[in-house]
Amino acid sequence: MGNSSSMLTQYDIEEVQEHCSNTFSQQEIVSLYQRFCQLDRNGCGFISAEEFMTVPEFAVNPLSQRLFRMVDGLNFKEFVLFLSAFSSRASLQQKVEFIFKVYDSDGNGKVTFNEMLDILRDLTGQFISEQQREKVLTQVLEEAGYTKDSLLVQADFMKLLSYSSETILDVVNTVPVLDILILGNSVLKMEVEVPVD
């Protein structure tokens, strides 16, 4: 797949599809390629920081810097793999794995208190004081059975983020009865639709 050509062959599409474990259809991959070429204005084969920041919707997102670090310098194949967690065909595990990778900035497979604090800081900015952030995080960690020094692994994230492990008692205490049915089925919502011509 040459960097300079803007045409995808059938082989290229199948290679990319295999690489992302079939989470995108062939049509979606073609659309993503058009988008990739549109963003990669200087045609060097990957999207630079400048080019990402020309998308205002991306630039105003609080987590844009972190996401950018993950997608910096990726070629098209890796770009599709990166986005595969957002496909409707992606499994819950793939989505949780993605969220875990966003938290685990040093990539050692364990999420520390500070790493969680970093994300919370990105999301809340100057609207909560640093002390308060630490207090909130410590409080919810302890309530979930962890301590400030706990190191969370992907399995912990999986347990916490799969909503189906909600206990009935928790549900009854916090929400009206009619919503129990909805909550019981709610899954992690992380899907993006690729526009197909």
Binding site: L32, R35, Q38, L39, F52, M53, T54, V55, P56, E57, F58, A59, V60, N61, P62, L63, S64, L67, V71, L83, F86, K95, F98, I99, V102, Y103, M116, I119, L120, L123, T124, G125, Q126, F127, I128, S129, Q132, V136, L137, Q139, V140, L141, E143, A144, Y146, F157, L160, L161, Y163, T174, V175, L188, K189, M190, E191, V192, E193, V194, P195
Partner: protein, 372 residues
């Protein structure tokens, strides 16, 4: 107990709420006690970011959509080739000839009028207006322009300003052909700049420089002076501030709407079957753009002069601008997007990110209070 630090950056409360336009991630309002899961679940924010990577409404505004080639089979292809020969070999030289004749006539009349009638200002202005309208007609003829004007023609009255949607610099020529407007424009380099500083100057045009921040106040003052002068040519403004691809409109700048005068909207829509008139200034220079137009079959467009609008009591200038944008977009069949056209040249202000951060912070603290 828990106090929110107020934002130190100035909050533009007048701005229309962009959150209403952007797709919302989780519509469910989180309630109940705050859990670790709620803090760890960053999926709404991630989904918004990924959504922006995959497709965003801002980039769509500036995408030039190339027309579908129709010459794909054995009998259409020779027809298309014949078309190319006619366009480049016959029409183009004819058009260049027409334009050259037009320029000769214009220049030979303009300089005498400009210099010899220095004392008779009223007559000179009238003749100069007529001459500019003439050269614009020649330009339009050089693209075989078919322009249909709808609505009452603009009149020369004080305290009124004309606003239109912007697709290319030829918008100005198309409108100028009918009425000699004074326009507010970005100063360009090259031969366009030369034209701007000599001929357009006499119409009373105002120049601005996008990159200078102080510029805005100076321009606002010049606008106000021009509009209130009884003798000046009617002023035309393109409030989008940049060329958009004639399928969308970006947000209007409020400068033209806070002068305390009547705003007359003009809607322009080009018919893409003949040529795509969008000037993608990132992709081509104006000369290339003109040459492309001169080697196409025709430039077909509709111009609607719409009902003049005034600021309603209790309406802010920004709301007024949005209302007029709505009128123009509906008339020309364009979709509205909530972005500022200048984001083409600069980053969005941190205000938007801060607003998101603020709402998340507030919801976290609120749910914390429910525990305590």
């Amino acid at each position: 107990m828990s106090k929110l630090n107020t934002s130190s950056s100035e909050l533009d409360l007048d701005r229309p709420n962009i959150e209403d336009y952007l797709p919302s991630g989780s519509i469910q309002e989180p309630h109940g006690t705050l859990r670790l899961r709620d803090l760890l679940d960053i999926s709404p924010t991630l989904t918004e970011a990924a959504g922006a990577i995959v497709d965003d409404s801002f980039t769509r505004c500036f995408k030039s959509n190339p027309p579908e080639p129709w010459n794909w089979n054995i009998y259409l292809f020779p027809l298309w080739c014949l078309g190319v020969v006619v366009r480049y070999g016959l029409l183009f030289p004819l058009r260049v000839l027409v334009l050259t004749i037009g320029w000769i006539i214009f220049l030979s009349c303009y300089f005498p009028v400009h210099f010899l009638l220095k004392g008779h200002d009223k007559l000179r202005k009238k003749l100069e207006r007529g001459l500019v309208e003439l050269i614009c007609s020649f330009f339009v003829a050089s693209w075989t322009g078919v322009v249909k004007y709808h609505g009452p023609r603009p009149s020369i009255r004080p305290k009124q300003i004309f606003v239109a949607n912007h697709t290319s610099m030829i918008d100005f020529v198309v409108l100028e052909q009918m009425t000699a407007f004074a326009v507010i424009m970005q100063k360009h380099p090259g031969w366009v700049g030369l034209l701007q500083s000599t001929i357009l100057e006499s119409l009373g045009c105002i120049w601005f420089n996008r990159s200078e921040s102080k510029d805005r106040e100076i321009v606002a003052r010049k606008l106000r002076e021009h509009v209130h002068g009884a003798d000046n040519n009617p002023l035309l403004v393109f409030p989008e501030g940049t060329c958009v691809n004639n399928h969308y409109t970006v947000m209007f700048k409020k400068g033209a709407f806070e002068l305390g005068c009547t705003v007359c909207p003009i809607a322009i829509k080009y018919n893409k079957i003949f040529v795509d008139a969008f000037w993608n200034s990132r992709k081509q220079s104006f000369t290339t753009h003109l040459l492309q137009l001169m080697t196409s079959w025709a430039v077909v467009c509709d111009v609607w002069y719409l009902e003049p609008q005034n600021l309603k009591p209790g309406e802010t200038p920004i709301e007024f601008a949005e209302r007029v944008r709505d009128i123009i977009s509906v008339r020309a069949g364009l979709k509205k997007v909530p972005w500022d056209g200048y984001l083409k040249y600069s980053r969005p202000s941190p205000k938007h990110r801060e607003r998101k951060q603020q709402s998340f912070a507030e919801s976290v603290l609120r749910r914390l209070e429910e525990i305590n």
